[in-house]
């Protein structure tokens, strides 16, 4: 009797210990990344850095103000392109689960999700840069948007499938058409989850560099024009990080800090908003 109890305790302690160890191992890289980025980046993170244009090589100071604005524009463009397409496709997948088109779209989304971002960059280059012979913010938005689409499609589909079928029956039994039931009951019920999915997708593409290299390119000046090359934090960090100048290295760290901080802040704000939405609709 006592022996069994001791054995159970030991096994339980071992299992819990293993779980704790796994969590620690998973969190260590995150901790290190945050630690190094903040350690290297914070000293160079000045008000000027956030608001000024980059200075030419050899001159001290300057900042990434234009890249911060540029990244915001690129992310907004990507969202504008990907959110409508992704949500509508997700609705199609959820509504016509077994349809032939749905099967094709689902497969395509999964394949697209696995395509390397540099390849998506090349694709965007061929459809949005070559025809106009010009790098542009719009082309960068297209590249990032293409990366977002599959994530949004599959999250939307999964979350719509989680809405209880009884809600659909309820709407239909009141004389709603199928489309009406989807847009007035099922989609709103799944909305908080879908928005979380959009958020994850936005955070993911915010850190992309490769698709921007030959679409949005880069720009050392203030520019908000969509048909012109535009700066972005990621490309700027990349350029500075591989440069041979110590000052640029420091600025690259600061850029990375801004990127991580912005994604974190944005996620927190959006999550609070989504929680509020959830509380409004659900008990």
């Amino acid at each position: 009797m006592n022996g069994t109890r001791l054995r159970r305790r030991l096994v339980s302690a071992a299992a819990v210990g293993f779980c704790v160890l796994s969590v620690v191992l998973a969190l260590v890289p995150l901790g290190f990344i945050l630690f190094f980025v903040l350690k290297e980046g914070l000293p160079a993170l000045t008000f000027d850095f956030l608001t000024r244009l980059p200075k030419p090589v050899g001159e001290q100071g300057g900042g990434m103000g234009n890249a911060i604005v540029g990244s915001s524009i690129l992310i907004a463009l990507a969202g504008l392109i990907a959110v409508p397409i992704g949500i509508v496709s997700g609705i199609h997948l959820a509504e016509f689960r077994a349809g032939r088109l749905a099967t094709v779209v689902r497969f395509a989304a999964d394949v697209l999700n696995g395509v390397p971002s540099i390849v998506i960059g090349i694709f965007a280059y061929s459809i949005a840069v070559m025809p106009f012979s010009r790098f542009s913010a719009l082309a960068g938005g297209v590249a990032l948007g293409i990366m977002m689409i599959p994530i949004i499609v599959r999250t939307t589909e999964e979350l719509l499938n989680l809405v209880p079928p009884s809600l659909r029956d309820g709407a239909l039994a009141l004389g709603a058409t199928r489309a009406r039931a989807v847009f007035s009951v099922i989609l709103p019920a799944a909305l908080p989850g879908i928005l979380t999915g959009v958020l994850v997708a936005l955070a993911r593409i915010a850190g992309e560099t490769a698709p921007l290299l030959f679409t949005a390119f880069n720009n050392r000046f203030w520019s908000a024009r969509l048909n012109q090359p535009i700066a972005s934090l990621t490309v700027q960090v990349y350029t500075y990080a591989i440069s041979p100048y110590d000052d640029w290295h420091r600025q690259a760290w600061a850029g990375a800090t801004v990127l991580i901080g912005a994604v974190l802040l944005f996620s927190l704000l959006a999550r609070t908003a989504i929680r509020r939405l959830e509380r409004m609709h659900h008990a």
Binding site: P164, L167, D169, L172, A173, G175, P188, H282
Partner: protein, 271 residues
């Protein structure tokens, strides 16, 4: 609280077979199969206007399938084949020319598990009128209030109309679903085991409600609970394996069943 008695209340009931009343729904040799599996085998019956008609029978006997034929909710299931005729207030509801959404506005439905939308109480009830294209705020407000009153829920929710419907108790949620169905002003109200998830007090409230609502609506209720059929309905049909075994006024069915199988079922010998 009212004492819940098993014996049917005599005051509102009329003796006689359903045919003596004005029919609201006429079902003629209705057959339904899911793929190759027959679920209803030639059901013919007339359901009286402004009465409560109950379908009883063991699980899988086809009573829910029969109910869902009346607002064509079976259309949503793949592989369903239906033959025979159903007329509601004289018009055939099976024809290809029938607008299903229009039919469902005339024939409301309350489900086994209450299914309020994750919206406010007000928006739940206003959903139907809004589908119907009512735009005027005051008109919707009037409709919401009168529907909630009809469902005996108004006094409990009048101060919290803009709270989430999901915060209501189970019994309140079910009455909200009734109010939501009434807001479309249907002629027929279908109830698919409306009390199976409710406690006895909430059940008594819904049964009371059915008795009040039949003045304006024709009510068809499916129930697993024979006492409920006995208490709350005017006519009762007993279904077994897709056939309508016996259908007559409720007191007669429960006191003097003619068919042996009916007697076995209501006395609890099987099912």
């Amino acid at each position: 609280m009212n004492e819940i008695s098993i014996a049917p209340k005599p005051k509102t009931r009329r003796p006689g077979v359903p045919a003596a009343e004005e029919p609201m729904i006429e079902i003629d040799r209705l057959c339904l199969s899911y793929g190759d599996k027959p679920a209803l085998k030639g059901i013919s019956m007339r359901i009286a206007k402004n009465r409560v008609t109950a379908f009883i029978g063991p699980s899988g006997c086809g009573k829910s399938s029969l109910l869902r034929c009346l607002n064509r909710m079976n259309d949503l299931i793949d592989g369903v084949r239906i033959t025979g005729a159903i007329r509601i207030a004289g018009t055939d509801i099976q024809g290809p020319a029938v607008d299903v959404t229009h039919l469902r506005k005339r024939v409301g439905m309350v489900f086994q598990k209450s299914n309020p939308f994750p919206k406010s109480i007000y928006d739940n009830v206003a959903y139907g009128p809004r589908i119907l294209g009512v735009r005027s705020r005051s008109e919707i407000e009037t409709q919401v209030e009168s529907s909630l009153r009809s469902a005996a829920l108004w006094d409990e929710v009048r101060d919290r109309l803009y709270e989430s419907a999901l915060r209501l108790s189970g019994g309140q949620q079910q009455r909200l679903c009734i109010a939501r169905a009434l807001a479309v002003e249907p002629e027929v109200l279908l109830m698919d085991e409306p009390c199976s998830a409710l406690d006895p007090i909430a059940t008594a409230k819904i049964e009371e409600l059915m008795d009040e609502l039949k003045v304006r609506y024709t009510i068809v209720v499916v129930t697993h609970n024979m006492q409920q059929a006995a208490r709350a309905s005017d006519y009762t049909g007993f279904l077994l394996l897709g056939e309508l075994i016996e259908f007559k006024d409720t007191p007669a069915l429960f006191t003097t069943p003619v068919d042996r199988r009916t007697e076995d079922y209501i006395t609890g010998r099987f099912g």
